[in-house]
Symmetry: C2
Subunit: 228 residues, 2 copies
């Protein structure tokens, strides 16, 4: 129990064969799942299809991901916990809204990084996934995922502000708006093929919130087009 599966070489951590294989299998499953879904649509891809394309047994799929959709956009429990910690403790002394903005920008960058990590053209992935993203099941799964993220933010905020979400709706409200900023920005960014600078989108949305929501848009100069 609790073996390392890795060898420490002069401060560097070299993954063991076992570890590398596991990571390869995980990535293969994810890549194949995304490719199949982009091609046929979410509801026309079974776990069996994914397993077959990745050349593992269907049972092995579930050793890596708890559900079919987790292979598509899996933020595991560790990362969600880490998110809560960052919201709670990043930039202490700064206003909560500032900390949230920092965390959201950083996480958005992570999303963009993972997209590149997939191999191939990131813009191509975004374009291919666009059709599949209309599937209700997939939307539902994504919403559930974001709800978990939002919950983590709520808890982090509650800790940061020293308040209890049960007695004070403010952390929930702030978390909901932050998650909303994140979603709206990411989805707009994805729709642009990843060309619009994501960090700026998020920053401007937060600025709009901090200043009080305006009646109309807040980003026309980014797209170079008239938004109404």
């Amino acid at each position: 129990m609790m073996t390392l599966d890795s060898t420490d070489v002069g401060g560097e951590v070299r993954a063991s064969l076992r570890e590398r294989k596991k990571l390869a299998t995980r990535r293969s499953l994810r890549r194949v799942a995304l490719a199949l879904v982009a091609e046929r649509g979410y509801s026309h891809v079974t776990v069996e299809d994914i397993a077959e394309a990745a050349e593992v047994s269907p049972r092995t799929f579930f050793n890596y991901f708890p559900t079919k959709e987790a292979a598509l956009f899996g933020a595991d429990q560790d990362r969600i916990t880490e998110l809560r910690e960052r919201v709670a403790h990043l930039a202490p002394g700064e206003p909560a809204l500032t900390a949230l903005r920092l965390v959201m920008v950083s996480d958005a960058q992570t999303v963009a990084d993972e997209l590149s990590e997939l191999g191939g053209d990131p813009a191509d992935w975004l374009r291919r996934m666009k059709g599949a993203a209309t599937d209700p099941q997939l939307r539902a799964a994504r919403a559930a995922q974001m709800a978990m993220v939002e919950r983590a933010i709520t808890e982090g905020l509650a800790e940061r502000l020293g308040t209890d979400p049960e007695r004070d709706p403010y952390p929930s409200l702030l978390a909901a708006t932050a998650a909303g900023v994140f979603r709206a920005s990411i989805s707009f960014w994805a729709g642009s093929g990843g060309t619009v600078p994501l960090g700026q989108l998020i920053d401007q949305a937060f600025q709009a919130l901090a200043d009080g929501l305006p009646e109309r848009s807040y980003v026309s100069h980014l797209t170079g087009k008239d938004n109404h």
Copy 2:
């Protein structure tokens, strides 16, 4: 095809036996589903259980609800479409934020009404459901539901503002925040056993958003307690 299943009597619409039975079955399924889930938790209640308790066949359950969770909190497609229309056209001339506030307050009242319609003590239902509400599956289902609502709001806002959500993230952001206000308020209200005035909660949250988010809470005087 397209029979009325109802008899028009002097301007009043009297439901036919068929219609009344259908409504009774639907309500029975919902009530029984809620009761069983409150008692055992979502994942320990099968569709078969619900059907049996409601004295219909399992297949009939799916004639009324597309999924298990739809029986618990089902906003059907008609109501979601209607929501979009209200967001788009209610109080024309007023700012979008004002229209959103009106629609959200009104919908919150509908939620409260449906709770009473269930029979028994509303506060009792809230208390009983509280435990079951921690179930991840149920959370996921609720999130998916809210995502559909949020989407409808986005579309309604886009129409109202004459903008395209694909090119302008503003409707999405506004919809996300409005949905966030709704969720945070409802959940806080439910946590209070339905005692805190829901309309005021929502109004104050919108006011906070319109003014620019404050660093701390905005409702301390409602609970009568210190929120930090």
